[in-house]
Symmetry: C2
């Protein structure tokens, strides 16, 4: 036994990961790192993904059907795009054992609860979740054990969720490195519209605009991207299917925030047009303070440019 071996007992005997993208693959490596389950099964719809998973040793056992992966699982984690949750829930429902827990990692909670909830059999627990972690990469090869370290995971228990099973799922996420909080579904969807969904749509839009401009060639936009634009392109490189589903299922909150955004943007455009420097400077001074708060909350680095620049040690 090395000093790295975790001393805690596994939290679940068998965990099934349905869908093997960035989040599921990171969960697998984090579960192994922490010794949090005795066996992890995995399933992905695409043959190619299953083959990749087998090749890189992702999951103790990769199954050819979702049913097989869920058999005798104590925890089933739905790691598919939000728009695919309902069909997957319907498919696996007959295979769920009594006393098992179903959770998910979807970025939207209200619509997932509406889609999955009705398919959960009596005697099976349903505890929706959402790890606020990710990168711009996707697919089975993109996962790594540290993805959830010091990141938040929001659990959104539904009516009748067994507190003991919520606590058990919390222990799993904590074991994977996350800080866990519980939240209501509606509130979750609004908070995420502000912190994630609207910023992603805005980044996608700005990158699309740059791509459209024929007078400023693509190569120039790319060449001189370090001036600010490249930060948008990272966000706008995230998985297209996942994000399509997020916007379609968190429609109301996202559109509300985007409405607010457009209103503010028009006010700033007016200030530029009329030369109202005071308004601009006041606005920019206020936003600077928020950055400070994020760094103090330990949610980002204070290193200039995200630490991209490597200073000499001299």
């Amino acid at each position: 036994m090395t000093t790295d071996t975790p001393v805690q007992a596994p939290i679940y005997n068998r965990v099934a990961l349905i869908g093997l993208g960035l989040i599921a693959s990171s969960m697998y490596w984090a579960i192994k790192r922490g010794g949090l389950a005795n066996e992890v099964t995995g399933y992905a719809r695409s043959t190619e993904t299953r083959e990749t998973a087998r090749e890189i040793g992702l999951c103790d056992r990769v199954c050819d059907t979702a049913i097989e992966a869920c058999e005798d699982a104590d925890l089933v984690v739905l790691c598919v795009p939000v728009g695919a949750m309902e069909s997957v829930a319907r498919e696996i429902a007959p295979a769920l054992k009594k006393g098992a827990t179903v959770t998910d990692v979807g970025s939207v909670k209200k619509s997932v609860i509406e889609a999955v909830g009705p398919h959960i059999p009596d005697g099976v627990h349903f505890v929706p979740g959402h790890p606020l972690a990710g990168t711009e990469h996707s697919g089975p090869r993109s996962g790594f054990a540290e993805l959830f370290d010091n990141r938040w995971c929001l659990l959104v228990p539904v009516e009748g969720s067994d507190p003991a099973e919520v606590a058990r799922l919390r222990a799993l996420w904590e074991g994977m490195g996350s800080n866990v909080e519980e939240m209501e579904a509606d509130h979750h969807d609004l908070v995420l519209a502000v912190t994630s969904h609207a910023p992603h749509l805005i980044a996608y839009t700005m990158v699309g605009v740059a791509d459209d401009l024929r007078r400023v060639t693509d190569s120039e936009v790319i060449k001189y991207s370090a001036a600010g634009f490249r930060d948008f392109t990272r966000i706008a490189a995230s998985d297209p299917t996942m994000w399509r589903d997020v916007f379609l299922t968190n429609k109301e909150a996202t559109l509300e925030i985007l409405g607010r955004f457009t209103e503010e943007l028009f006010a700033l455009q007016r200030a530029i047009r009329t030369g109202d420097g005071e308004h601009l400077q006041d606005y920019f001074t206020r936003t600077r303070a928020i950055r400070r708060g994020i760094i103090e909350a330990g949610q980002d680095t204070d290193a200039p440019d995200f630490g991209r620049i490597k200073k000499d040690a001299t």
Copy 2:
């Protein structure tokens, strides 16, 4: 003589840095690193900044007036916000020696040329410039020698710029680590509106919206910022005075790009409202390719999340 000592001769005998913020302080350390000048003088309007510069050894000589700093300088670099360029140019004009070159580091070129050009005395060269480098930090303590390494610096020679002096300034920037290109002022201002000015205003706006929302408390927005929002806050933490001046002086190009942006954003909002998933997915797939181009162009890292996440070496 260590192996680190540069072998090239200094490019200028005396360089004067007017304004001692992030760019000027980085220039000082980069000039020293490369042995690119025999003496660098510095001046800042604020007593506090001058005191800080003396304390940290920023500049070989910190002067109490801009006139004094410019005396006998072969190169004078205007490192003040774009809106302050004209008054500084007027102030130093009498102190400029024949044959000297004046350059600047402003983010907007057309308005700086209009503001500074008329004050340049006969026999003094004027070669506007713009290093596309920066961080969200500002002030004399924020500079470091590596800021310009592998970043672009755009030179925007005006009518009558002496090619030999343009080449000399190019050599200085290359000595500081930059790749240098020449560009027309109007084209520069449009390219920067796309790659920098519009993205900054958009980031400022999104952060302002989040700050305004009272139902989603500040602490929640900050706490859960890693979901995408925090990338916007870094950009929106940039120097408020500098950015006020950028928008006021590159008004036309910035408003044009923002108009395009709003148009696209409305189209995507409509797609969300009407549930047009195909439109969204096509759009998001297209923007992903641009990210790839930026990484291939060596202008950003492919490490997930800008390399923020430190993977174990195990």
